[in-house]
């Protein structure tokens, strides 16, 4: 499998400026053969521009893009070994499914018999067997997307580009398509590069994610690393939900560190953070990593916090808001200093034993390996 780790796309110092606006700012990254790569970022961050540069619809102002080792600078879109699934799907409305899927093969002069076989195979792959004669306006959005997918896959590209593939689908279908896309990628073994603003989508499908902010790569990591070890506040905040507190680094040794957060209290970590002593840092704490209990009760659970010295990793507050989401309940808790912290709690049983409600005084604690210290 080491052979599959060759970079199929190399992006080298690529910038794109539209007049005075810089859409992509000196990005360099490698996309490996066979991986499911996701470009994640808020709208207007330059991720779509980057994808369109790979496809050849935009030319980089600076830098180069290599696909399979070949410089793409002078290669027009119709000569590139990549295919794209557009956000609007761009299914040709005047052609039926067979003609849509066979279009690329037809204009490249493939024999009729081969077109028929490959179209059938591609339709089977996206589970559209039996839809051969349908016109696009007789199909749902999800089905049209499958046509667009088949139309690209039938070309056997080295890389398949997908521009916000799931944004137009409803929630249920989106969840299903996330699995199907990952499954499909596994089956065909083609490198997928997807653009999305939806973090769930990125986390569930990607083998690696590049978080893009203001035209730059904020972090490039596998989904779990992105969530558990965000590199900066932007990533911590953009991927998932998080509580961020400002503080000062008071202790930093190879096996432990401590941060003094005026808003939250003393925070102890069971690993070093390698930041300058006394530096301004931010502590990120995910809502689901905080245990909630009534002060004085629940001692057994509290044992989990005993990996920190006394008085560390504990906080008290008052419940100011609750939202019941079925699988979890979200609590908005006001800390002593007036700041709000968000805590989520899985509803493990149908009837909650603790039965928290508004204005309850609660205490919180968390494990010493839960907080993430961010330097930027």
């Amino acid at each position: 499998m080491t052979q599959a780790k060759q970079p199929i796309i190399q992006i080298r110092n690529v910038s794109k400026r539209f007049g005075k606006v810089t859409a992509v700012d000196n990005i360099s990254l490698d996309i490996l053969a066979g991986e499911f790569f996701v470009l994640l970022g808020p709208s207007g961050c330059g991720k779509t521009t980057l994808l369109r540069m790979i496809a050849g619809f935009e030319m980089p102002t600076e830098g180069q893009i290599f696909i399979d080792g070949q410089d793409m600078s002078l290669v027009p879109p119709n000569k590139r070994p990549v295919n794209m699934v557009f956000q609007s799907y761009a299914v040709f409305p005047h052609m039926n499914v067979t003609d849509n899927v066979g279009y690329g093969l037809r204009i490249s002069g493939v024999s009729k018999g081969e077109i028929r076989d490959r179209v059938a195979e591609a339709l089977e792959l996206v589970k559209l067997g039996g839809f051969e004669d349908r016109m696009p306006d007789q199909m749902s959005g999800g089905q049209r997307q499958r046509v667009a997918l088949a139309r690209s896959l039938v070309m056997r590209p080295k890389v398949l580009l997908l521009d916000e593939p799931l944004s137009a689908l409803d929630a249920k279908l989106r969840a299903q398509m996330q699995f199907e896309l990952a499954d499909l990628q596994d089956k065909v073994g083609i490198t997928f590069v997807t653009v999305t603003h939806d973090q769930d989508e990125a986390l569930s499908m990607a083998s690696r994610v590049a978080v893009i902010n203001k035209g730059e790569v904020a972090q490039l990591a596998p989904p779990a690393d992105l969530y558990e070890y965000p590199a900066n506040r932007f990533v911590a905040d953009f991927v998932g939900s998080v509580n961020i507190f400002e503080g000062k680094l008071t202790l930093d040794e190879p096996d432990k560190a401590a941060v003094d957060c005026p808003g939250l209290g003393k925070i102890y970590l069971n690993h070093g953070v390698t930041g300058p002593h006394g530096a301004d840092v931010w502590v990120a704490l995910r809502p689901e990593k905080i245990y909630l209990h009534v002060p004085g009760k629940g001692k057994a659970v509290r044992a989990a916090a005993q990996d920190a010295p006394d008085g560390h990793n504990l906080a008290r507050g008052t419940i100011k808001g609750m939202s019941y989401l079925g699988d979890i309940t979200l609590y908005e808790i006001q800390l002593g200093g007036g700041q709000m912290i968000r805590v989520s709690r899985p509803n493990l049983s149908r009837h909650d034993q603790e039965d928290f409600t508004w204005d309850d005084k609660v205490s919180m604690h968390w494990r010493a390996d839960s907080p993430v210290v961010l330097l930027s």
Binding site: M84, S88, A90, V91, P93, G104, M155
Partner: protein, 279 residues
């Protein structure tokens, strides 16, 4: 009680009396003159005033009137040529204006629609002076003797085609064209396979517009026609100057029928194509 009608809902305009009568009046206003013209083409009388009985003799007479038939053939020839050329120029102009950004684009767009705005009489005089100045030959054999009129007709027909095509292009999803190129299509293939099918209805509509505009144009044709070239509207005008005989009615009825049939065929072609694509 069981004969009670269901009450008229607020949006059921077709069931409201005032609405029906208003529609009826509008129809009458629009079509009464045409119907009278057609009915009196069968009138067995030299005058067009009193109904004397049914006859087809004026149709026979009209069809045996050589100069009338010649005028009709001229008109149809001019209209066909003008339509084809307008279609090509108009569609290309529309695509160019839609796709590209270039200096003085607004000016180009404005001047292009000028022939629509400028009064016909001015255009007519302009053409008269222009063709005289360049010494356009008037004694050419058929159909070259129609060239001056045809050129004039193209001038005021193609902006209409361009306008209709432009409006249609606004609804085109550019990603479709990009998808075609992404799948390996050249610029020309993408145009032929994706853009052209999208604007086809506009091309049919534009062609119909151009054809009818050219066919019934009087003013500009009157100024640009040479001494020996005559078109149908000009011929009818010269016949009417003596007296409005049922022969004129008959000729006009034939023309109306011809345009209706042509329009019908054009729309049908469009429809058949659409149906054929679904199967």
């Amino acid at each position: 009680m069981m004969f009670n009608r269901t009450p008229i809902a607020p949006l059921e305009y077709t069931r409201k009396l005032w609405m029906r009568s208003w529609v009826g009046l509008t129809m009458l206003f629009l079509y009464a003159p045409l119907i009278i013209l057609m009915v009196f083409s069968f009138n067995d009388s030299k005058r067009n005033v009193v109904w004397k009985g049914f006859t087809l003799k004026y149709y026979e007479k009209a069809l045996h009137n050589d100069s009338l038939v010649e005028a009709l053939v001229n008109s149809l020839t001019i209209a066909t040529l003008a339509t084809i050329v307008s279609l090509v120029i108009g569609a290309l102009a529309a695509v160019a204006l839609w796709r590209f950004r270039f200096p003085f684009k607004g000016l180009v767009e404005g001047t292009m629609s000028l022939p629509i705005i400028v009064p016909e009489i001015c255009l007519g005089v302009a053409f008269l002076i222009f063709f005289a100045k360049v010494d356009w030959p008037t004694d050419l054999p058929w159909p070259l003797n129609l060239s001056a009129i045809t050129i004039a007709h193209i001038t005021f027909c193609f902006p209409f085609v361009a306008m209709v095509v432009r409006a249609r292009l606004a609804s085109f999803n550019k990603e479709e064209e990009e998808a075609a190129k992404d799948l390996g299509a050249t610029e020309w293939q993408a145009f032929r396979d994706v853009l052209l099918p999208h604007i086809r209805p506009a091309l049919v509509a534009g062609a119909l517009l151009a054809f009818t505009l050219s066919l019934d144009d009087f003013v500009i044709t009157f100024f640009t026609s040479g001494p020996d070239t005559i078109t149908f509207p000009v011929k009818v005008y010269s016949m009417v100057r003596f007296s409005v005989t049922p022969e004129v009615n008959a000729a006009s009825t034939i023309l109306i029928l011809l345009t209706v049939i042509l329009t019908f065929i054009a729309l049908k072609l469009q429809g058949v194509k659409g149906i054929a694509e679904t199967h």
